[in-house]
């Protein structure tokens, strides 16, 4: 078998929230396929950048934690995102860091202490066939991953043979932090006019709790009811990542990466991509609040973040 020649990782312990992801599947939303991809895109990009990978290399998104792997290759890995106990051969290993692993090493990821999703990347990315241009696993669609599903105990993840690479790390100050209340920047759009000023104020001036019904499709929030002005029939329209959908019960759902591509519920606007990264780390029970922003402010913030990532990448490339 190839796997004897080719290095890789054995998954010793896995579950439904341990999935192969990249930055998403594009160009097929018009056929009803969602974009998928890492819910916390920035943590996924950083994990890859720490290894000199392209930002969209295939990696593992591990929700909640509780995953272990056996290295069958001499290579490098990195772990970003949620704070999860990270052990190599029983010894604590640092997150946000390039780590050399040897064939035979045991990699264990415990349960999240803060945050919800961590990203485990490997030098060169996991070698997985793409489906419609992406490895992103969408369980509901049975698309992507190894066989359209989550990863299971005993699965084998092949990797590229790897040359020595520079060791990089992201200083603690630059690592994303988790706060007691997560602020969600959002911009007005879609059916904004269908909401009274009162309803918008209500959306912005209360705390919402992330419910247990949240998943990769959407973060379902609970709080005081947000009313939609009575409307004539609404025809379904495309739905994008970040859209805030107000259900019939007046509760908001923020669309995450596995969102439906079409919907007929009123949407006052959309949460910014940067805030979605933070929201993807909010576990059930945690608190969020909406902060309405101008489009240009949100875009400026996104541009600054892109510049920061580009500078970091350049810095790390020089180190190589």
């Amino acid at each position: 078998m190839d796997r004897l020649k080719q290095g890789g990782f054995y998954l010793l312990k896995s579950h439904a929230l341990c999935q192969l992801q990249d930055l998403g599947r594009f160009g097929v939303a018009g056929l009803g396929l969602t974009e998928g991809g890492a819910c916390d895109q920035q943590s996924a990009m950083l994990a890859n950048m720490l290894l000199g990978n392209v930002a969209g290399a295939a990696l593992l998104e591990i929700g909640v934690g509780g995953v272990s792997l056996r290295a069958q290759a001499n290579t490098y890995i990195s772990l970003t995102g949620a704070q999860m106990p990270f052990l190599i051969n029983g010894q604590p290993a640092p997150r946000y860091c390039t780590i050399a692993v040897q064939s035979g090493d045991l990699i264990e990821i415990g349960y999240a202490r803060a945050g919800l999703r961590c990203y485990l990347a490997v030098a060169g990315g996991f070698l997985v066939p793409t489906t419609l241009g992406s490895v992103s696993t969408v369980l509901r669609e049975g698309v992507g991953g190894l066989n359209g599903g989550a990863l299971a105990d005993g699965d084998w993840l092949a990797v590229h043979p790897c040359e020595a690479i520079a060791l990089r790390s992201l200083p603690y100050e630059s690592q994303p932090k988790f706060s007691a209340v997560t602020a969600l920047d959002w911009i007005a759009g879609a059916q904004y006019d269908w909401f009274s000023q009162e309803a918008i104020t209500r959306l912005d001036q209360q705390l919402f709790r992330v419910t247990k019904q949240s998943d990769r499709m959407g973060c379902r929030l609970s709080g005081g009811k947000i009313k939609v002005k009575p409307q004539a029939q609404m025809y379904s329209e495309g739905v994008c990542c970040g859209a805030i959908q107000i259900s019939n019960d007046g509760q908001p759902i923020v669309m995450l990466n596995d969102h439906q591509t079409i919907g007929g519920y009123a949407k006052p606007g959309a949460v910014s991509r940067l805030s979605l990264n933070a929201l993807a780390q909010c576990r059930p029970g945690s608190l969020v609040r909406f902060v309405k922003r101008d489009l240009c402010d949100v875009q400026a913030k996104a541009a600054r973040q892109r510049e920061w990532l580009a500078r970091l990448q350049q810095e790390w490339q020089h180190k190589a």
């Binding site: 594009f26 160009g27 018009g30 025809y235 495309g238 591509t261 959309a270 875009q299 892109r306």
Partner: protein, 236 residues
């Protein structure tokens, strides 16, 4: 009728927007939607990550770096103006025939719809397959095509409580729309029959037999033919 116009541009997210082309769905508006979709794809190439046509609007999702809202609005308005100046396009989609076995063992809601509308089941089936439909949108699940519109006599509200499981191929009615479930899934549509052909196949090219703007007609088949084609019954 060529006085189609761009009614509005709405923000969808920091790098996505809606183009609204009509206030009521119609074959003419759908033809424009499809035409605009194709031309915008060509014009913007990879800068336009995704485009979702549905009934009255197009959702355009751009690369974040590319999205300059004001500039794009001006550009899209001019683009539409120029396009809509040209004669209205004909719907140039494919005509697709889909075999359907209508029966109690493939369409568990037939008896209920018959009672609801006070017409025999045979009439419901007749009305359904004697109508030709347009694909107004694809979504909900991969390959789920929203077909419009059923004759007014078939207009039926969704189930109060959606089913946990609807069989693959199920042909349903919800309000004025009809559709085929491309895969087993939960669903709240009234199921009146089943289409044994795959509506979405990752290994096929194209992935789907239908596209937005296509015309679909259902062709009734007998139970035996349905089974021969690999169809699955609710009683199985």
């Amino acid at each position: 009728m060529s006085h189609q116009q761009l009614l509005s541009i709405r923000i969808a997210s920091e790098h996505a927007l809606y183009l609204d082309l009509a206030t009521e769905p119609s074959p003419a508006a759908l033809a424009r939607l499809v035409q605009l979709q194709q031309q915008l794809k060509q014009h913007y190439g990879h800068h336009l990550r995704d485009i979702v046509p549905a009934y009255l609007s197009l959702l355009l999702i751009f690369e974040p770096e590319y999205f300059a809202y004001k500039g794009l609005c001006a550009e899209l308005t001019a683009f539409c103006q120029q396009l809509f100046h040209q004669p209205a396009p004909e719907l140039a989609g494919k005509k697709v025939q889909l075999p359907v076995y209508y029966g109690k063992d493939s369409g568990p809601d037939l008896p209920r719809l018959s009672a609801l509308h006070g017409v025999p089941q045979k009439r419901i089936i007749e009305l359904h397959h004697n109508t030709s439909y347009l694909v107004y949108a694809i979504g909900f699940a991969p390959g789920f095509a929203y077909l419009g519109f059923v004759p007014p006599e078939l207009n039926s509200p969704r189930l109060a409580t959606p089913r946990q499981q609807v069989l693959q191929g199920s042909v349903g009615i919800a309000d004025r729309q009809t559709a085929v479930y491309p895969a087993r899934s939960p669903g709240g549509w009234n199921i009146i029959g089943n289409c044994p052909l795959p509506l979405f196949d990752l290994n096929a090219a194209p992935l789907m037999p239908v596209a937005v703007g296509d015309e679909v007609k259902f062709e009734p088949i007998e139970r035996a033919e349905f089974i021969r084609l690999g169809g699955q019954l609710w009683t199985d």
